[in-house]
Structures are given as structure tokens and as C-alpha cells.
């Protein structure tokens, strides 16, 4: 099961956070700082999975952005690692520009200025800590309809 989904930049600032179990808001900042410290300090040749308390963290770096997912021990780390990539591919498709290897500032700002939409995309993919949809067209369908309605 997925416990939380974070996007942070290299400086360790949170750019998106979504929790799938109740974590008190006062504790989130400390948890995020801890988590980020655990992941950012790792070298490239070390594995992308970290133990953190009774969670496992799966992290993946995209230019200046890190995505960190907290999962339980029963989850399949590698499948989550790829889920992160799928998520990035969806974002890429939606924002129709290269997020995967972009100029660092741009991709981060993309997320920041569209925080609500990134959340909406994430909600389509992960629900209550379960991976519910991975088909890119279907993930984006509701959001594209929304956009169309706003335009017209």
C-alpha cells in the first residue's frame, strides 16, 4: 500500500504532497524533512529504495525534482518505481512538453503553477493508497473534459 506521495526539489522544498493515511499537519513537515534527507543524501549508484521507520521509500529523480513514495513492506518496490515514471509520462503528455529532461526550473514551475491539476491527475492514478489506473488516456480523460468545458 502507498502511504504518501511527495514531490520535492533538490533543496528539499516540498512541491506536492499527498497522504493516503491521516498524518497530522504539524507532523508532516518533520516527516518530509526526514524523508527528503534520507533520499537526497544517497548516491546515484545506490539503490532507489530506502528504509524509513516501518515504511519503505521509493524515490526517483527527474532533473531537479525528486519524487518520493512511501510504501508498506508488502508493496512491490520496483512496480512503484515504474509507477512514478508512468506518472511523469502522464504529466509530460498533459503539459505537452518535455518534463522528463527539461530545464530544471521550468518543470518545477509547471508543477507549481498547476498544483491543482497535478493533484487531479494523481487522484486518478492512486486512490486510498492503491494504484487504480495506469492507462494514460484514461487518467487524463476527466481533466481534459474539464479543460474543454472551461474553454467553451
Amino acid at each position: 500500500m502507498i502511504k504518501f506521495f511527495l514531490m520535492v526539489n533538490k533543496q528539499g522544498q516540498t512541491r506536492l504532497s499527498k497522504y493516503y493515511e491521516n498524518v497530522d499537519i504539524s507532523k508532516r513537515a518533520a516527516l518530509e524533512a526526514d524523508v527528503v534527507k534520507g533520499c537526497l543524501s544517497r548516491r546515484k549508484d545506490e539503490c532507489s529504495f530506502v528504509e524509513y521507520k516501518d515504511y519503505k521509500l521509493v524515490y526517483r529523480q527527474y532533473a531537479a525534482l525528486y519524487i518520493v513514495v512511501g510504501i508498506t513492506d508488502t508493496e512491490n518496490e520496483l512496480s512503484i518505481y515504474e509507477l512514478v515514471h508512468n506518472f511523469i509520462e502522464v504529466l509530460d503528455k498533459y503539459f505537452s512538453r518535455v518534463v522528463i529532461y527539461p530545464s530544471p526550473i521550468q518543470s518545477e514551475l509547471d508543477i507549481m503553477f498547476n498544483l491543482d491539476k497535478v493533484h487531479i491527475i494523481l487522484d486518478e492514478m492512486i486512490l486510498n493508497g492503491h494504484v487504480v489506473e495506469t492507462n494514460k488516456n484514461r487518467i487524463l480523460a476527466p481533466l481534459l473534459v474539464l479543460d474543454k468545458m472551461v474553454e467553451s
Binding site: 522544498q13 516540498t14 506536492l16 504532497s17 491521516n22 504539524s26 508532516r28 513537515a29 549508484d45 545506490e46 539503490c47 532507489s48 529504495f49 530506502v50 528504509e51 524509513y52 521507520k53 516501518d54 513492506d73 512491490n76 518496490e77 520496483l78 512496480s79 518505481y81 515504474e82 503539459f95 505537452s96 512538453r97 526550473i105 521550468q106 518545477e108 514551475l109 507549481m112 503553477f113 498547476n114 498544483l115 491543482d116 491539476k117 493533484h119 487531479i120 487522484d123 486512490l127 486510498n128 492503491h130 494504484v131 487504480v132 489506473e133 495506469t134 492507462n135 494514460k136 484514461r138 480523460a141 476527466p142 473534459v145 474539464l146 479543460d147 474543454k148 468545458m149 472551461v150 474553454e151
Partner: protein, 1206 residues
């Protein structure tokens, strides 16, 4: 940094134009959100952040409260609030506006409103109730995107109590033509299943439909529900294994639309989900497993593209293959996969390989052997996570021969580790291993092993410090104290401990953690007298020095004081004061003790002061000292009865005299919450809680207590649970168990490993050993040799011929050193927890019934029956040749049910009236009936009713005969005349043997339920001393008649009747009992009977006027709402539904106004229950109120059934 800012600013315009492109709300560079984002990116310190956000929050606050804020602005405000919360600053004033936005905004605004709600609020937030109406409205919207949003938010967050309000709407969406709506409806139901499983029990068939949906997305969504349900009870879904296999085959075969592919792999996450389901279904079930072999083989074969995602699938395949019933061919392939993982240069794959290996070694220890060199390499890997995972693997292959090496590796890791959680986990594991194996190394001399054990534990105490689980030190002390069978061994171990601790205290006590100091104090106090050449004064002095140190905590001081107290006798203090003369040394010790006592007798720490005063007293009175602190151990004879069974008598006495049964604190709290009027959570507490509370109350038998206390006392178990894995213990031979050291129980499988013994003698100390094993060396060949050596010491004992001993061979029974009465607690707790966990999820109708049945512990009734009449039974078999003895089909069923019944403790039937009473009343009732009833009661509705009494809940409620019906079945003739005209059920057979047949019928009297038991003598001779005993804890027997007869003449019929009342509501109650009789010249016989009574039997209409109803309604607080199925939707649904309920459950329909109806009933002589029914959205929304907590729930259950049966 400034560079970055500059870039940011230059990037902005470009971004903004792009935003226009994607159709997002226009963000001018001066927009407030734009400003905030810019502000955030420019932050340089925490202080700046705080200032910025505080300012932002103030601005937001002002803006939201302004009436001129448009919804569009509100949307932006919400995003800004989300930012503030994301950075850790609460924006609670905006929560209500998020709800408002969801309510009033147009589509995108609405979506952001819902999004903000799901991010801001948690499941129990009270504002969530305000969302219900909005969701209801959106679910009914014609705009699909709104329906979609509503379903999304419902599947994220929704108040549990309000599920019934929207459930019908969500269910309806399962049939929607659009796949996305169907899919989201399934997701919403998954959420409901997670938070309130009993609410969705009735739609299990619809889950199946979703599984078979033509759209793959809907199917995939339903897999989540199935995985959950199968986790809870795999047995109920084994029939679906074939379907899951077919689905997986299609997915693997690429039958899904191509946009489900991820890097050319078809729907990988769906495959993984399916593999997990298959693993659960195939576990311990050969025939189900056989269905899967093909598809698993195909999955492995197809996963040839080298991409992470195929590895993820392979990993899942491997797990499944090793979980289900094994097949050689597949195991080989899986092992090959693991090999590829472990050997892969990709670090992530290596990790996964180690994880798979850890999972698998329990089944196949040889696999670890195959990869031993890789494992050794991983042990020294630069990545700490890989190291950690390797240790986890080693932990699971530990045996008596490699334990020292493995423990040393773990300790090495621990010394370098700084992460609290890892330390706690590893310390617990090392302690577990150390306690398991200390005497089992091949080395015959005890000293090194004692030494190993004590030193390992010392390292643990030092490293673990205050972090470790508190039960580790106490287990250790228990092991020392309880000892083994060999006194000499014990003495050696204790002496070694004393020696080692004295030298520790002499050298460097400052670094020792408090817990370790406590252990040291205890050991020294208890055992330092064993070491002859150790002066007690020296020990006292060392201890006293501890007292003087400021860094020693007060609870540690009290351990030290106690130790000093124990030692004071040894120091000759007592002798001195007794005037028997003392040498210089003892005098010194006495002086020291006196001084300590003196010094602390005025301590501010009351505990310490008291101990000091005690010490003063004890040191002056040797006799008292000897009595209070006897030297040597009294442990041998110490019995701890953790079940507190010696209190059983007291408890049952108290209970009998009316004391309330003990309830654990959490339950009391639960009930307090329940009693609160105006509770906001009527549903949350409704069905499951009231049931569980009644069952717990009824279960307060000492046996249950003993289970729970056994559990809590079982500290090894706790430590075990605290660790991450749940499988750790399996397959590891145990020498030190939960219950202490299990010495000399089994043959050590040492013989096969003779060659290895040379390479792995356990050298006396660790430093030497580790240096011998891993010397830093430049010479590669030497390094290799070292690795080989390490390998042989790590993997010793894992060769194929003794690998069997790792496979969880049943443990030899542990000698119960510490005689706790908690044998079998593991299995007991496991079974009880599994019972309780699956019971709520049983098929719909079994829920209540099964939990009711579970209330009773195993059956004393059967015991009494067996002990009473063994001869009787054999005799019955013997005389069976008579052939004419009709054996009713119920016999088995009744026995089964009786089997599970509660033990008799109420002895109502014992205070039976004299036989004369029955005799007086009965004769007039029995005229003329005799011929009709012999030789056995004619079964009027034979199979149906028989089964209903035997099987319980699944069958229809008793068919009530209308009182005016004049063709009464003949057996009603036996009813007493005053009952004959009352509504009653058919006479249904209960039990019979060759001479006596029993049947019963329920008569609904206005003030009570009368249970009429009819006894007919089918044999040619009279039966003597017929007596009936009936028990039911839940019911009150108001009166009874005719339950004892001096004789039952041949071929005659008698009745006895019980007047029953139900005081606390139950959906069903079982009445059990026995009828015993004696043949004229023969032995006595006993017939067991049992019958199920439903709440409906105890309900009576409550006749009220509408005004009275209104008043009563307002005064009641126990409140339950539920949507029920509506009958006759085309005609007059309300009237027809209510009339069905009225007939079946004896309700009184007070009034019907339009689409609403009010109905009232009462429990016999007791509490009223009012119902308010309304036809809404194709369902009957029922709202129940009653002063009695459980009544609405129980009644609701029957309402549901009554309507479903139609």
C-alpha cells in the same frame, strides 16, 4: 540563488502563455497565486517562509470572508490554501469555503473544491457532514463530469455514517453506460468496503458483475475489492480462481487495448494485482494452485523484455510461485529468476533479488547456499540498504552452527548504524537469536558459549540503549533466573555474568545506558555471592558509586538500592548487628551500607527514601532480611498464573451476585461514547459495535482473560511483532524459546557438517573471530579465501540433508520453565483474531448469525452429555434393531448447533415447580390428542422447518398463523386452550430417539413469548422422571410449567411451556436444553434440544397516536438510519412494504402520510422502538429510534431480511 531567481522570473512569462494554452485559469504575473509561488521559490530561510505564509494566510482570511469574492477567485484562494497547508501551516478557516466551493462552483471550480476538501479534511472531520448534500446532488446530476467528481471524492473521503444515504445512488451507477462512471462507482464501493464492510454486504453479487465487466478498467477496479476480501477469507472466493486465471491469461496475452501497455508490457499493474490474488487463493490449496501453473509459466515466459516493469512482474510471479502449492518445474524457473536478480549489476534488481531470497529461503534454504558468494558480497556492499536486506536474509537462515557469525555481522552493522528504527529492529533480532542458541554451538565447552551469550547481550544493551524494546532486558533476566535443567550450567552462566559486569563497572561505567545498569544491578544483587573470591563489599562499593553519579536515573537508582539491600546480608552487616562479631572487611561493608541508607533516607525521591529506610531496617535485622530477601533462588518453585485463575471463584461469585462483568478500558470508552446522546456517529457505532460489545460482555469468562493476559505476558511475541517481518521465526530451530531455554530436547543435527566444523569453530571471542574472518587484505586470492571461509561459516548447516530442519519442523514441546498458563495462546489468539476478522465479511446473512454463535466458548453441554450417558448411547445403538424408532432428520443438526452453544450457567430450570403442578394442569389439555401424535409427531412442514431449526439464519422467519385461521394443524390441539387462539408457529420437531419425540412451537402472547415443548412417548411403556431443562443466557424465563413429570404414559403426549422475555435486544438467541427420562426398567437417557428464537418473536405492536409518537420520538436518542429495499415499486411501495413488515414483525403502523410512514413496536414488556419510513430514491429510508442501544440495529436486521425474503 539569485541566479535561480532570475531564471525563474524570466521563465514566468513563457509559462503563463502556456497556461493559457492548456486552458487553465489565467494567471497574470500579478495574480495572488503567482505572487505566492514566486515568494515560495525565492525563500531562503525557514524564517522567511514563516513570514511569507503568515502574511498569505492573513490575506486569504480577509478575502474569503468578503462577500464579493467570486467562485473563480475562491478557486485560486483554495490553491493558495493548499500551498500553505503543504508547507505545514494550518489554514482551517478555509475548510468551510472548500466545501462551499464544491457546492456552488462551476465544473473546474467544483473539482478544485472537492480536491481541497480531500486534502484538508480527514475521515472524522465534522465538516465532512456538510459535504453529503453536495455529493448527493452531484451524483444525481445529468452532467457526467459532476457525477465523476462526486464519485471520486466519495472514494477518497466520506463520512462512514452517511454511506447509506448515497449507497443506492452509487449502486445504481454500476449499471451506467459509461465505463468511467462504472469504474468510479466500483472504486467508491471499495472505499465503503474498507471503512464499513457490513454496509456493502448485500452487493457482493454486483462485485462479481464488475469483475466480468466488458471494460478492462472496471474489471481492474474490482480487483482491489477482491484482493481485500480474499485477504480476509480466501476460502469464500476459491471458486473465482478460474476467472482470475482467465483474466490474467488474457492480459498477459495482450488482449487488452493497446493503451493499457506500459513500455510494451500489457497492463503491468493489473498483472501484479492478479498475481497477488492468485497467491492468496492458491495458498495451501493444491487443486486451486493447479489451475494457475499454466498462466504462471506463461507470465514468466512472456516477461522477456528487459525493463524494470517486467522485473516487477517477475518478482510478483516468484512470490506467487513460492506461496502456492509447489510445482517443481515452476520452482526451478522462479529460482532462476531470483538468481538473475541477485547477480544483476543493477542495484535495484539486486535489492529485489535479496528481498525475494529472504521470502523464499524458508521454503528452500538451498537457494541461499547457491548464492552464498553473492550474499557475502552484499554483506560488504557500500549501500547500507543492501547490507540491511542481506542481514534480514541471514537472520532467516540462522541455525545453531552459524549463529555466532551471523550475530557478529549484525552487531557490526549495529555499531555503525545511527537510525533509531533500524537499531530497535536489529537489536530485537539479535536478542532473539542470542537467546535461542547460546548453548548450541558445536563446541562442547560451556565457557565460550556462556561468554558468547553474555557478551552478545552486553553489546545489545550497550548499543540498544534506551531505544530497545523493554522486554529484551526482562527476558534476559528471566533466562538467567529460571536457568536450565543443569544447575552447574546455570551457575557457570551466572558467575560469568557477575564477573563480566564487575569488570565493566570497574573500568568504564559512565557510558552504560540506564537499562543496562539496571540489568547489572539486578544480576550483581542476585548472584554475586556465587563467586567465591568476590568480596561483597567491593560489589556494594561499585554499586554505591553508581548512586552517586548524577547521570543515573531515579528508577535505575531504585534497582541499585534493591541490589545493595540483597547484598547487605552477604556483607556481614546482619552478623555485625546481631553481635556475632565481624572481621574488618565485613565491618567496612556494614558501614558502607549504613552510610548509604543514611544518606538517602532524606532523599527527595520518595521511592528512594523508602528503599533507604527499608535498607536501614533490614540491615539491622538479619532474620527479617533472610525472610524478605532469601538468598538463592525461589524461582524454581515460582509459578505465575497469568490467567489469574485463582480469582475465578471470586469473579463468578461476584457476577452471580449481580456485579457487572469486567470490561477493558477501550470497551468502556466505546460504550460511553455510545451512551452519549446526540452522538454524531450513530452509524459508526451501530451494528458491529453493539454486537461486539455484547459478545465481549458475554465472553468475560476466565478463559478469555487468560488468553489476553497470556498474550500480554508473552513478551517474546511482542518483540517479534515489533520487528518488521512476520515470518521470522518459521523454519528456525529453536533452543531458546518464549518460555525459556529448551535444553537437550533434540538431537543436534551436527553430524553432516563435520568438514565445516574445522572452518567454523566458534573462537572464544568476537574480536578475534571477526578479524580472522575479514582481515583487510590486498591480495585478491587471500580475500577470496576469506570470503570462502566466511561463506562456510555463514552457510554451515544449510546443506540439503539438514535443510529440512529449517523448514519449520514442529518444535519439540518446550519445557515450561516459567510456568505461565499460556500454552496455545498463539493458536488461540490467532484463531480468535482470524475469527473476528473474517466474521464481519462473511456472506451477508452469516454476519450476525456467526458472531452470535461465536459468543459461546466450546461446549460444556457436550461434555455433560457425554459424561452423563455414554452407556445410554451405546444402548441406543444396540436397540436400534427395533427399526420402528423414527429418527428425525434434525438430530444431527441439533447436535451441531448444540455443540457450539454457550455453557449453561443459569439454572432457571432447576428451581422447577413440583411435578404436581404440571400434573394438575396438564390432564385437561391432553384429552384426545394421543392417537394423533403417536408414534412420533407428524412432521407438518417437514424439511423446511427442520432445517430452519438446525441451520439457523438462512431460512425464513417462522410463518405466523393468523389467529382467525380455523384449520389449525392437528398438533395444535395439544396446545393449552388458553394459548390455542393466540398466534403461534407450527409445531416443529426438535429431537427424538426411539421412545421420545420432542417438538416445539412458539406462541406469541401479548405479554411474552411462550415456548411450548411437546413430548410424545412413542414406545409401548411409560417413561419415568421426565424432566426438561432449558437454558438461554440472553432470555429471562418468566414462568414455566410442566417441566418435570413423574411419568409419561405410553403413547401419550405432554406439553411443557416456558414463558420467555427478552431483556436486552439480540437479533437471534439460541435456546438450548436437555430432556432426560428413564425407561421403566432401563437406564436414563438424555435428549439434547436447541432452538433458535428471533427478535421478531419478542416484538409486539405498540399502539400509539400520532401525537404520542411525536413526543416519544423527540425523547429518544439511539438513532440508526438505513436504506432498505422497497417492495412493489410500481404499485404503492410504502403501503405494501409496511404491510409486509407489519405482518412479519408485528409492528404497528401509526400513520401513513404521503410518502412517509411512522411505525412503532416494542420489545416485550420493555423498550419501544419507533420507525420513520420514507420512500426516497427508489429505496425505503428507515430511521429508527429507541431508548435501548442495540434494539434499532437488531430490528434493522430483521427489517432487511423481511423485505429481502419477499
Amino acid at each position: 540563488m539569485s541566479d535561480v531567481v532570475e531564471k525563474t522570473l524570466t521563465a514566468l512569462p513563457g509559462l503563463l502563455s502556456l497556461d493559457l494554452q492548456t486552458g487553465a485559469g489565467k494567471l497574470s504575473s500579478t495574480s495572488k497565486l503567482g505572487n505566492l509561488i514566486r515568494g515560495i521559490t525565492e525563500l531562503t530561510s525557514k524564517h522567511d517562509e514563516e513570514k511569507l505564509i503568515k502574511r498569505e494566510l492573513a490575506a486569504i482570511k480577509e478575502q474569503v470572508s468578503s462577500p464579493n469574492t467570486t467562485m473563480r477567485q475562491m478557486k485560486e484562494i483554495m490553491v493558495r490554501s493548499i500551498y500553505c497547508e503543504m508547507l505545514g501551516y494550518e489554514a482551517d478557516f478555509s475548510y468551510i469555503h472548500a466545501i462551499k466551493l464544491a457546492q456552488q462552483g462551476s465544473v473546474l471550480e467544483k473539482r478544485v473544491g472537492y480536491l481541497a476538501v480531500s486534502l484538508f479534511l480527514n475521515e472524522n472531520h465534522e465538516l465532512l457532514l456538510l459535504l453529503v448534500n453536495t455529493v448527493l446532488k452531484d451524483l444525481q446530476s445529468t452532467n457526467l463530469i459532476e457525477v465523476c467528481m462526486a464519485l471520486t471524492v466519495v472514494s477518497q473521503i466520506f463520512p462512514r455514517d452517511m454511506i447509506p444515504a448515497i449507497l443506492p445512488l452509487v449502486e445504481e451507477k454500476l449499471n451506467h453506460p459509461k465505463e468511467i462512471i462504472r469504474r468510479k462507482a466500483v472504486q467508491a464501493l471499495h472505499k465503503f468496503y474498507l471503512i464499513a464492510p457490513n454496509q456493502v454486504q448485500h452487493i457482493h453479487s454486483k462485485f462479481r458483475k464488475a469483475l466480468c465487466d466488458k471494460d478492462p478498467g472496471v474489471m481492474a477496479a474490482s480487483l482491489h475489492i477482491y484482493l481485500q476480501m480474499i485477504k480476509e477469507s480466501a476460502d469464500s472466493y476459491r471458486d473465482l480462481a478460474g476467472s482470475f486465471v482467465t483474466i490474467l491469461k488474457q492480459v498477459v496475452g495482450g488482449k487488452l487495448p493497446v493503451d493499457y501497455n506500459y513500455h510494451s508490457v500489457p497492463a503491468p499493474w493489473v498483472q501484479i494485482q492478479l498475481l497477488r490474488i492468485l497467491a492468496l487463493l492458491g495458498k495451501d490449496d493444491q487443486s486451486t494452485s493447479e489451475l494457475m501453473y499454466d498462466v504462471l509459466d506463461e507470465s514468466i515466459r512472456r516477461a522477456e523484455i528487459s525493463h524494470n516493469i517486467t522485473y516487477a512482474i517477475l518478482f510478483e510471479c516468484v512470490k506467487t510461485i513460492y506461496t502456492i502449492h509447489p510445482k517443481e518445474e515452476l520452482l526451478e524457473k522462479a529460482a532462476k529468476c531470483i538468481g538473475n536478480f541477485v547477480l544483476s549489476p543493477k542495484i535495484n534488481l539486486k535489492y529485489l533479488g535479496l528481498k525475494a531470497l529472504t521470502y523464499v529461503v524458508q521454503q528452500d534454504a538451498n537457494l541461499a547456499l547457491q548464492h552464498q558468494m553473492t550474499i557475502i558480497e552484499c554483506l560488504d556492499h557500500s549501500d547500507i540498504i543492501i547490507k540491511r536486506e542481506t542481514l534480514e536474509l541471514l537472520f532467516r537462515i540462522t541455525n545453531a552452527q552459524n549463529v555466532t557469525v551471523i550475530v557478529e555481522k549484525m552487531l557490526d552493522f549495529l555499531r555503525l548504524c545511527h537510525e533509531d528504527y533500524a537499531i530497535i529492529d536489529l537489536v530485537a533480532k539479535v536478542a532473539e537469536l542470542a537467546e535461542k542458541y547460546p548453548f548450541r554451538t558445536p563446541c562442547p565447552h560451556l565457557t565460550p558459549n556462556n561468554r558468547w551469550f553474555i557478551e552478545t547481550m552486553s553489546t545489545i544493551f550497550t548499543v540498544g540503549g534506551e531505544l530497545m524494546q523493554p522486554d529484551i532486558p526482562s527476558n534476559f533476566l528471566r533466562l538467567l533466573a529460571e536457568g536450565s535443567d543443569s544447575l552447574e550450567d546455570d551457575r557457570q552462566l551466572r558467575m560469568y555474568a557477575v564477573d563480566s559486569y564487575v569488570s565493566l563497572l570497574q573500568t568504564n561505567p559512565t557510558k552504560l545506558p540506564q537499562r543496562f545498569l539496571q540489568v547489572i544491578s539486578w544480576v550483581l544483587g542476585e548472584y554475586s555471592h556465587l563467586v567465591d573470591d568476590l568480596s561483597p563489599c567491593l560489589v556494594i562499593e561499585l554499586l554505591v558509586r553508581l548512586l552517586e553519579r548524577p547521570d543515573v536515573a531515579s528508577d535505575t537508582r531504585s534497582w541499585v538500592m534493591t541490589a545493595v539491600g540483597k547484598l547487605s546480608a552477604g556483607a556481614g552487616v546482619g552478623k555485625l548487628s546481631a553481635g556475632t562479631g565481624a572481621g574488618g572487611g565485613t565491618g567496612e561493608g556494614a558501614g558502607l551500607v549504613q552510610r548509604v541508607a543514611q544518606q538517602h533516607s532524606s532523599s527527595l525521591d520518595t521511592q528512594l527514601r523508602q528503599q533507604a529506610l527499608e535498607l536501614q531496617l533490614l540491615s539491622q535485622d538479619p532474620e527479617l532480611h533472610a525472610r524478605v530477601l532469601p538468598r538463592g533462588d525461589a524461582w524454581g518453585s515460582l509459578e505465575v498464573d497469568s490467567s489469574l485463575s485463582f480469582l475465578d471463584g471470586f469473579v463468578s461469585e461476584a457476577l452471580a451476585s449481580g456485579a457487572a462483568p469486567y470490561k477493558p478500558p477501550h470497551q468502556r470508552q466505546e460504550e460511553l461514547r455510545q451512551e452519549k446522546a446526540l452522538s454524531l456517529e450513530p452509524y459508526a457505532l451501530s451494528l458491529p459495535i453493539s454486537l461486539s460489545s455484547c459478545s465481549i460482555a458475554d465472553r468475560q469468562s476466565p478463559t478469555l482473560l487468560s488468553i489476553s493476559s497470556g498474550l500480554s505476558g508473552n513478551s517474546a511475541e511482542l518483540a517479534h511483532r515489533a520487528g518488521s517481518g512476520s515470518l521470522k521465526l518459521e523454519g528456525v530451530k529453536r533452543v531458546w524459546g518464549k518460555d525459556g531455554y529448551l535444553p537437550h530436547q533434540r538431537e543436534v543435527p551436527e553430524e553432516p557438517s563435520v568438514p565445516q566444523e574445522d572452518s567454523a569453530p566458534a573462537p572464544p571471542t568476537f574480536p578475534q573471530q571477526s578479524s580472522a574472518l575479514t582481515p583487510p587484505s590486498a591480495d585478491p586470492s587471500e580475500e577470496d579465501r576469506d570470503k570462502q571461509q566466511l561463506a562456510s561459516s555463514l552457510f554451515v548447516g544449510l546443506s540439503s540433508n539438514n535443510s529440512t530442519c529449517l523448514m519449520g519442523k514442529p518444535e519439540a514441546p518446550a519445557p515450561q520453565r516459567f510456568r505461565r498458563k499460556h500454552k496455545n495462546t498463539d493458536s488461540a489468539s490467532a484463531s480468535s483474531s482470524s475469527d473476528s476478522s473474517h466474521s464481519p465479511h462473511d456472506a451477508a446473512n452469516h454476519f450476525l448469525y456467526s458472531s452470535l454463535l461465536e459468543e459461546g466458548p466450546a461446549s460444556p453441554i457436550m461434555l455433560t452429555q457425554n459424561s452423563l450417558a455414554p452407556s445410554n448411547r451405546t444402548e441406543a445403538n444396540g436397540t436400534h434393531t427395533r427399526g420402528d424408532a423414527p429418527v428425525l432428520p434434525t438430530a444431527n443438526g441439533v447436535a451441531d448447533v448444540g455443540d457450539r452453544e454457550a455453557p449453561p450457567s443459569l439454572t432457571t430450570a432447576n428451581e422447577a415447580p413440583s411435578p404436581g403442578v404440571g400434573g394438575h394442569r396438564d390432564p385437561p389439555l391432553l384429552m384426545g390428542g394421543m392417537e394423533l401424535v403417536q408414534p412420533c409427531p407428524p412432521p407438518p412442514a417437514p424439511t423446511a422447518s427442520t432445517q430452519s431449526s438446525a441451520e439457523g439464519a438462512d431460512t425464513p422467519q417462522l410463518p405466523e398463523l393468523p389467529p382467525e385461521s380455523d384449520h389449525l394443524p392437528p398438533e395444535s390441539d395439544h396446545l393449552p386452550p388458553e394459548l390455542r387462539n393466540l398466534p403461534h408457529s407450527d409445531m416443529s420437531p426438535l429431537a427424538s430417539d426411539q421412545s421420545l419425540s420432542l417438538s416445539c412451537c412458539r406462541v406469541h402472547r401479548e405479554d411474552a413469548l411462550v415456548l411450548v415443548l411437546q413430548m410424545s412417548n412413542a414406545c409401548g411403556a411409560a417413561l419415568l422422571d421426565v424432566s426438561v431443562e432449558l437454558q438461554c443466557h440472553e432470555l429471562k424465563v418468566a414462568s414455566l410449567r410442566g417441566n418435570a413429570l413423574e411419568s409419561l404414559p405410553a403413547q401419550s403426549v405432554r406439553v411443557c411451556w416456558y414463558t420467555l422475555l427478552m431483556e436486552a435486544p439480540h437479533t437471534h438467541v439460541m435456546v438450548t436444553g436437555s430432556v432426560s427420562y428413564r425407561e421403566e426398567s432401563g437406564p436414563s437417557h438424555t435428549l439434547e434440544i436447541s432452538s433458535k428464537l428471533s427478535l421478531a418473536d419478542f416484538l409486539r405492536p405498540l399502539v400509539l397516536s400520532t401525537e404520542e409518537y411525536g413526543k416519544l420520538w423527540l425523547s429518544l436518542s439511539q438513532d440508526v438510519k438505513q436504506n432498505l429495499k422497497l417492495l412493489d415499486p410500481d404499485g404503492d411501495p410504502l403501503c405494501s412494504s409496511l404491510s409486509v413488515l407489519k405482518d412479519k414483525l408485528q409492528l404497528h403502523v401509526v400513520d401513513i402520510i404521503g410518502s412517509e410512514g411512522i411505525v412503532a413496536c416494542k420489545l416485550l414488556q420493555g423498550a419501544p422502538c419507533l420507525l420513520h419510513c420514507r420512500v426516497h430514491a427508489g429505496a425505503l429510508a428507515v430511521w429508527l429510534r429507541s431508548p435501548v442501544p442495540g434494539l434499532p440495529d437488531c430490528l434493522l436486521y430483521h427489517l432487511q431480511r423481511a423485505l429481502q425474503e419477499r
